[in-house]
């Protein structure tokens, strides 16, 4: 097998909210279908297993130029990744990711959330982002911005009860995610405010 076939280029990782994808530029061979194979190497393989590489079977001889590597990037250590191309009997050299990837660098986005006033109950619906995610929810009564209350949600249920509201009062909520495995948080979501049912004078 001679290596006339160029190795894949522009190998990069797109990592958001602990989901990691390897992408590369396609190798163009007129009239031919080029297939790609991906392998990874964790710090353990580099330091204790003779720098061995491990193939990702879901990304062996694929025609696409994206590979979901989330399942294999499952420790907070530095990983190396590489891709090669195949056309018929021709096989390219490996193209290797520039630099190592550690999931600690994943970008964390604020969680999607929906605040609900259910009678006098202040509720929040949070997006299920997977088992690695906790949520820190801050809420306060409008006008009492100095008395912010907090609730940490470790496992997402459909709806989270935050508080019982005073009739007719406005309450505001914002949330951020926290990933313990990498000890990092997202920025806060937009603040959302709702009004409790009923009339304020009812409480006099």
């Amino acid at each position: 097998e001679d290596a006339l076939l160029p190795a894949p280029q522009n190998i990069t990782i797109l990592s958001t909210n602990m989901k990691h994808f390897l992408t590369w530029s396609p190798v163009i061979v007129q009239g031919e279908t080029v297939r790609y194979s991906v392998e990874f190497q964790g710090e353990y393989e580099r330091e204790y297993a003779n720098e061995s590489w491990i193939p990702i079977s879901e990304c062996s001889l694929i025609t696409g130029t994206v590979c979901n590597i989330t399942e294999d990037i499952s420790a907070t250590v530095a990983y190396n990744l590489r891709v090669r191309a195949d056309v018929g009997a021709q096989r390219s050299e490996w193209g290797t990711l520039k630099g190592l990837f550690n999931r600690i660098t994943t970008s964390l986005t604020p969680p999607l959330m929906k605040v609900i006033a259910d009678g006098y109950h202040l509720l929040v619906e949070l997006e299920d982002m997977g088992p690695a995610f906790q949520f820190r929810v801050l809420y306060w009564k409008k006008g009492q911005e100095r008395r912010v209350l907090q609730k940490v949600v470790k496992e997402v249920r459909s709806v989270v009860h935050l508080d019982t509201m005073e009739a007719g009062a406005d309450y505001c909520v914002k949330a951020q995610t926290y990933v313990e495995a990498i000890n990092r948080s997202s920025s806060f979501s937009q603040t959302q405010c709702v009004r409790a049912h009923g009339d304020k004078s009812m409480w006099l």
Partner: protein, 152 residues
């Protein structure tokens, strides 16, 4: 969360993705244990269970065991099965990450080794070296849940 767990060994605090390690092991446990022909022997539990270790020695024995798995076990567990190899890699890299934290505690004298943990670990090594290396490594990997259960 279903993710991390903080282990407190006295002053030593170690955050570990226990769920990820367990998920990786559960996915290959049957395959690995099927490769262990000598079911009557145990590496971690012979003659005494880990549960007999005094709490003051828990950090040291945990540190010893993580070193044991990283330095001696995982490298001899390569199989012909790509899925199994990927899960072993996942566990090994997680162990490496935890071992580093335990090592930091050890350097800061927060993970002291008493007589008991030293003796216990010697026994584990003797059990391991009593078998040929591949059998010993596969058996040790197959007993990982003993370690994980004891830790939790």
């Amino acid at each position: 969360t279903a993710g991390n767990k903080i282990f407190h060994f006295g002053a030593c605090r170690v955050s570990t993705s226990m769920t990820e390690i367990r998920a990786g092991f559960t996915a290959i446990k049957a395959n690995i244990q099927a490769r262990d022909p000598i079911r009557s022997l145990s590496i971690l539990s012979y003659p005494h269970s880990l549960h007999k270790v005094k709490s003051s020695d828990r950090c040291c024995i945990t540190h010893h065991l993580f070193n044991f798995y990283v330095d001696k076990v995982f490298k001899h567990c390569r199989t012909e099965d790509s899925f199994v190899n990927r899960k072993i890699s996942s566990i090994a890299n997680s162990f490496l990450s935890v071992r580093r934290k335990l090592g930091q505690c050890h350097e800061q004298n927060q993970c002291m080794c008493g007589q008991e943990s030293t003796e216990k670990f010697k026994q584990i090594l003797a059990n391991y070296e009593g078998l040929n290396v591949t059998s010993a490594a596969m058996k040790s990997l197959g007993e990982l849940d003993i370690l994980l259960d004891w830790m939790e």
